[in-house]
């Protein structure tokens, strides 16, 4: 909600700066951004009472002297004769109608009303609707204006459950479905209660006689309606959060005053319907309890002073909660009020010591498995559970984000296959992934299983020992045999026939319930350690990579280290990785053959062969300067 600083500060005696008001609002818990002179407020859902100038000023009264000089019409009013029936008093326990007739529609507004539209950049509508909108901004109570000439039969408030068309006063045509609280004339919906009025009874630029409806609706009946019908509605935002049920008389008398400042009122009458009296909520005065909750030590006088500034009244040992504060019900609620006034940041800390009691150890087997896989070059992944495939026992999402995410996965392997293909498309030729996750199914009730799933394909590794070995079932079986010799695992092969890939490497998978692993794994001594600190991520390139290999013959063994030092530390913006993929010592020929692979990729552009050649040639020329090594064929 947007609120102009100038509209607030004109009521504050101390005339604080916008920064001072901003600080005060933050201390009170009213988050906002400042855009010029405008506070763009984001209130918590329990503070519907703050959705107005007066509401915010009531809170700011703890820091400043507030002078609310908004005049209201004081004279006695005639009773309005209106044919109205309330068939859903539980939804609308309180509603008032005010009828006004003016002699002429004003063309120019007084500054107080005009500035509202000017300062907030709002468009004007018709006179009565403009007054209604301003009053909602000032008081927090939305009102709705009907053109009195169009209310020509019995007005009924009720909850309907039949589908029907409804055209809003903003010319939007919607189809009402499900339960809706509405005002009707002869069964025609003329107002979607608490959300938006209808076009058929709305005021126009020349409306001179108006019926203003001022109601309290139970938030439960309004919540979700504006989203359901895609209607931007300031009124529903307020009704959803709860408005002050006791404000109708003052609001409508303020309405009269504002109209009277712009036009001559020829006739006016009012009527209120109230199905039950609003009970005043009372909480016993108990400063000890407040001190205990917050961890402070204030005296009762100080405590009650804070509350009285916020509009709470103390009588006979009880704190009476004002009607606009429906969110305050308990001592904890009062403690929050006090804490806000003191300022959360001003409350001194008190040392916490959580007592020692017997606590369960946890997830040892799972963690051992993770580190075992890390030791063998596997990377942990996390996948979304939403899939489009419906297996027999898959759980269906009632309200999926889209048709591709209608079900919960019943296995992890399919996600890992997608991950594998994703990485293969990025020229990865050694892929080893695993995921541990809960997997759910519906088989006579919802079943949960915690599973480990792994997938591997391509080279066993990128070092010279593993480079030419391909991952297969045997490789994985050997790994698991090492730690769990007494257990048999059923490794699977994923056929590439149905996959969108030309790569032929075997895809090996395993998916096992975690509880199938025996505690034998606990004796495994992991090599990998969690990272120390938190590494800074370097943006990855989505551009294609390519590689070049260089094989050397070394006759002078002493130069092997020099070559490694040069090549493994060679710096270039376009070299992404370099490793030794081949090494062979020929004792007979007294020669070492060593192969280096350089992977090229740029952050900025797709590399062309000339750019790669430039770096490659530099590597070659630097390396062959080392005496005792050569590049066969060169």
């Amino acid at each position: 909600m947007k609120i102009a600083y100038t509209h607030l500060v004109q009521h504050i005696a101390e005339n604080p700066s916008i920064e001072q008001v901003s600080d005060s609002l933050f201390q009170l818990g009213h988050e906002h951004e400042i855009d010029g002179n405008i506070f763009d407020m984001e209130f918590t859902p329990n503070r519907g009472d703050c959705l107005s100038i007066n509401g915010l000023l009531r809170d700011l009264a703890v820091f400043y002297t507030i002078n609310l000089s908004q005049e209201v019409y004081f004279e006695k009013l005639d009773e309005l004769l209106i044919d109205f029936e309330n068939l859903s008093e539980s939804i609308c326990p309180q509603v008032s109608f005010l009828k006004l007739e003016i002699d002429q529609v004003p063309e120019i507004y007084k500054d107080s009303l005009d500035n509202y539209f000017l300062d907030l950049g709002l468009n004007k509508n018709n006179f009565f609707t403009d007054v209604s909108n301003y009053l909602s901004y000032e008081t927090g109570q939305p009102t709705h204006c009907y053109d009195a000439g169009k209310i020509n039969s019995k007005l009924v408030f009720h909850e309907i459950e039949s589908d029907g068309d409804f055209e809003t006063l903003l010319d939007k045509k919607i189809t009402l479905t499900g339960k809706n609280a509405v005002f009707s004339l002869k069964n025609e919906v003329i107002n979607l209660a608490g959300v938006v009025g209808g076009k058929s009874t709305s005021c126009s630029f020349d409306t001179k006689t108006v019926i203003i409806e001022c109601a309290f609706f139970q938030p439960e009946a309004i919540i979700g309606k504006s989203v359901k019908y895609d209607i931007q509605s300031e009124a529903s935002h307020k009704f959803e959060r709860g408005v002050d049920p006791d404000c109708h008389d003052r609001v409508l008398r303020r309405f009269i005053k504002l109209v009277s400042e712009h036009a001559n009122i020829k006739d006016m009458s009012i009527i209120s319907y109230k199905s039950k009296d609003n009970s005043i909520h009372q909480i016993p005065v108990n400063v000890q309890k407040i001190n205990k909750i917050i961890g402070i030590n204030i005296n009762e006088k100080e405590y009650l002073n804070y509350l009285s500034k916020l509009g709470f009244i103390v009588e006979e040992g009880f704190i009476k909660v004002p009607s606009f504060r429906s969110d305050v019900k308990t001592q904890n609620d009062l403690a929050e009020e006090v804490a806000r006034v003191i300022g959360y940041d001003n409350i001194a800390v008190s040392e916490i010591n959580i007592p020692n009691y017997e606590k369960a150890s946890h997830k040892d087997i799972e963690n051992k498995l993770r580190y075992f896989l890390l030791d063998h070059g596997f990377y942990e992944v996390i996948n979304s559970p939403f899939v489009n495939l419906s297996l027999e026992d898959a759980i269906k999402v009632d309200n999926p984000l889209d048709s591709n995410r209608e079900y919960l996965r019943t296995n992890i392997t399919n996600s890992l296959v997608d991950n594998l293909l994703f990485n293969e498309r990025r020229q990865k030729d050694s892929i080893k992934l695993f995921e541990i996750s809960d997997v759910y199914s519906n088989n006579n009730g919802i079943n949960k299983k915690r599973k480990l799933s792994i997938i591997a394909s391509g080279r066993v590794g990128l070092n010279y020992d593993d480079f030419s070995k391909k991952i297969n079932k045997k490789y994985l079986a050997r790994l698991f045999q090492e730690i769990l010799p007494n257990e048999v695992f059923n490794f699977g092969i994923v056929s590439r026939d149905l996959l969108d890939t030309k790569i032929k490497n075997e895809i090996v998978t395993l998916e096992v319930d975690i509880d199938k692993f025996s505690s034998d794994i606990l004796s495994y001594k992991e090599v990998s350690k969690p990272p120390v600190g938190f590494v800074q991520y370097n943006l990855i390139s989505e551009l294609p990579s390519s590689f070049k290999d260089i094989s050397y013959s070394i006759k002078d063994y002493s130069k092997t280290q020099d070559l490694q030092d040069l090549l493994l530390n060679y710096k270039s913006e376009i070299i992404k990785n370099v490793y030794i993929f081949d090494y062979f010592k020929n004792e007979k020929k007294e020669e070492i053959k060593i192969g280096f692979r350089f992977v090229f990729q740029s952050q900025k552009t797709t590399l062309n062969s000339a750019e790669i050649e430039l770096v490659y040639n530099d590597i070659v020329s630097q390396s062959i300067r080392i005496v005792g090594i050569s590049i066969p064929g060169m």
Partner: protein, 241 residues
């Protein structure tokens, strides 16, 4: 030349894999909290409305319950938990105070854009004992934030609203760029929630807090797009060793 005949082969680098950075962050935070005296409790990701909302004092009318915010499954008989708080409820129903639980894991909300994902991770904690106060909650939060971001970090507490805590607060830290960034939500456990779990709220009080793991991982690792965490890109994952 003979002097070098016995030269060793190049170091055989056995490449290790890496934990997922979100799980690593979650483990780091959980381990920190364990060192403070918390114990881990686990719960299901598919929950009932009773545990996810009712027991936590979230009214039937609360917007979070709407179909546009919460994923419901199997004809609304269950839902995907929207926070890890129901695990705390299950824990409190099983054990009597004093108790200090943490739970971490996946949670789901019906969001999908550049800054929100339908699945993300939380770690939550609750401590219930006699005389637990807001001032103690502040002490705990300072300890958590200082451990994560260093003692030089500037932080602030803001009043906020959660149905399951009262008073409630959100905690921001000041970034190097001078912007306040929301890091966690916390508060004193609403007595209604304690009573729902058969804990005498006149005798016991509690504190609770919850952290979004992705948010903290993004800050700590300098990741600017949350979606990077879930592409399973080896170029990304291999950086977190």
């Amino acid at each position: 030349m003979p002097a070098y005949k016995d030269i060793s082969p190049p170091e055989l680098i056995k490449a290790r894999g890496a934990l997922h950075p979100i799980n690593h962050m979650k483990d780091s935070i959980m381990n920190l909290l364990i060192s403070f005296g918390f114990e881990i409790v686990d719960g299901p990701e598919i929950e009932t409305e009773e545990f996810n909302f009712d027991m936590l004092n979230i009214k039937k009318s609360h917007p979070a319950r709407q179909m546009h915010d919460t994923f419901y499954v199997e004809n609304k008989s269950n839902l995907l938990r929207t926070h890890t708080s129901p695990v705390q409820i299950r824990g409190m129903l099983e054990k009597k105070p004093p108790l200090a639980f943490i739970s971490g894991g996946k949670v789901y909300r019906k969001d999908d854009d550049a800054t929100h994902l339908p699945m993300f991770h939380q770690v939550e904690g609750i401590y219930v004992d006699e005389n637990v106060s807001f001032a103690q909650l502040k002490d705990l939060i300072y300890k958590i934030i200082y451990s994560l971001f260093g003692e030089e970090v500037e932080l602030r507490f803001r009043p906020s609203y959660f149905p399951f805590t009262e008073p409630s607060a959100e905690v921001d830290i000041l970034s190097k760029e001078g912007k306040w960034l929301e890091i966690l939500g916390c508060g004193l456990v609403n007595p209604v929630v304690l009573e729902n779990c058969n804990i005498d709220s006149n005798k016991f009080s509690g504190l609770a807090f919850g952290l979004g793991i992705e948010r903290i991982a993004m800050l700590k690792h300098g990741v600017t797009d949350i979606r990077e965490f879930y592409k399973s890109n080896l170029d990304f994952l291999s950086q977190f060793k």
